[in-house]
């Protein structure tokens, strides 16, 4: 392990942390660019697998950065990636939270919120496409199965009754075990 790679981890994930407007999904394309294309820390299949691991644990699925850090520099890498991704945005949150009420009723506060709402939705769609590009792969039969899985989950969650998405994620894992081997 060298300090250069730890520093890169800290730098990359801190940048992503500050850019994560609207949550983790917004930075997925950038995270893939940085970690797969630019730094070659993981390959595209590993990125998909690691994202899937993030879905299986409680808490934010962006805890996946820990596994990317682990791939780069074992436990120290995991810790640095975690701190890099979660600490900067939290510091910004506390700092802003304390001055936020100064801007109560400021029309610009509303303007910022209104302006960023559609940007966040656009970024989330981009994040969805980014994951879809890596998650829906394989030969044509596998692609069809993956598409079917994604479609079923979407229809149930979007049109169906309220249910815990974690169950559908687990069901996806079981379906993968049966159909995608």
């Amino acid at each position: 392990m060298n300090f250069g790679s730890l520093f890169s981890l800290l730098w990359v994930f801190s940048v992503l942390s500050i850019m994560a407007v609207g949550g983790g999904t917004s930075v997925l394309p950038a995270m893939k660019d940085f970690t797969v294309e630019l730094q070659h820390w993981v390959n595209e299949d590993q990125f998909r697998d690691i994202y899937a691991l993030g879905q299986l644990v409680p808490g934010p699925n962006m805890l996946m950065v820990i596994v990317i850090g682990y791939h780069v520099a074992a436990i120290p890498g995991a810790i640095i990636a975690f701190l890099g991704f979660f600490v900067p945005s939290s510091l910004v949150a506390v700092g802003t939270g304390r001055v936020w009420n100064h801007f109560e009723g400021s029309p610009w506060r509303t303007a910022i919120q209104r302006g960023f709402a559609p940007i966040v939705v656009g970024l989330m769609l981009a994040g969805t496409i980014s994951i879809a590009r890596t998650a829906i792969t394989g030969d044509s039969e596998q692609i069809q199965i993956c598409l079917a899985l994604a479609a079923i989950v979407f229809v149930i969650l979007y049109f169906g009754k309220k249910m815990n998405p974690a169950l559908l994620i687990l069901a996806g894992g079981v379906a993968g075990w049966i159909f995608l081997r």
Partner: protein
């Protein structure tokens, strides 16, 4: 379980002394211990599977603990969603800070993230040494495909609520095309589309005259 921050020196909230004291708990309210903040967020962090952490937070913070009322919960949520970072961690540090200043923020942060972080580290180590296990790959592939459906559903649910006007849809489209198809780096997208979007939704009453009332002017009330 060891709780790193359950035993702080009884420092006053001097970090926040120069700040507006909106974050101080109401006078006369008993001080909530850091241990309790940590354990409360630990419980949320350990059980909030599959996203939707806001629902868990509300049920715990507003209904069970009554640390926040509905209005202050919404206010904290609004800040969390506007700022960079994840809702879950932003909420944890903001509520922790509201209750006990910086030590409270740290307690909330650690409680929220430690369960998932520990678990994913274990899974990650197992994964790293079984990266070519076919069964594991198949399971994760299924999870990945299912999460595409989940992401799309969440995104459209949020989008459906927020986007009522053509201007919104245009901003969504521009952002999406720039990131997904033109592959413009995220910082550049945020620094260009962001100011333009804010400008388009600028406070219009400050304008000397308003030529036409676009539909989005109605939004100024919400």
């Amino acid at each position: 379980m060891d709780i790193p921050d359950s035993n702080p020196e009884p420092e006053k909230r001097d970090v926040g002394a120069s700040m507006p004291d909106s974050s101080a708990p109401a006078a006369g309210q008993p001080k909530i211990s850091l241990r309790e903040i940590f354990l409360t967020f630990l419980a949320i962090g350990a059980t909030s599977f599959g996203g939707g952490v806001v629902a868990y937070l509300r049920s715990s913070l507003v209904e069970k603990k009554q640390w926040l009322n509905d209005d202050s919960f919404l206010e904290v949520l609004e800040i969390s969603q506007t700022l960079p970072g994840l809702n879950a961690t932003n909420m944890a540090v903001l509520v922790g800070d509201k209750l006990r200043g910086w030590p409270g923020a740290v307690a909330g942060f650690l409680g929220m993230l430690l369960p998932g972080a520990t678990l994913i580290l274990i899974l990650g180590i197992v994964y790293a040494s079984n990266a070519h296990n076919e069964t594991l790959n198949a399971v994760l592939k299924g999870v990945g495909a299912a999460s595409v459906g989940l992401l799309l559903a969440v995104t459209l649910q949020i989008g459906r609520r927020q986007l009522e006007h053509r201007l919104d849809v245009a901003i969504v489209a521009v952002t999406l095309v720039l990131v997904s198809f033109v592959h413009v780096m995220l910082p550049i997208v945020l620094l260009t589309v962001g100011p333009i979007a804010i400008f388009l939704y600028r406070p219009r009453t400050h304008l000397p005259h308003k030529a036409d009332d676009h539909t989005y002017d109605k939004r100024s009330t919400d």
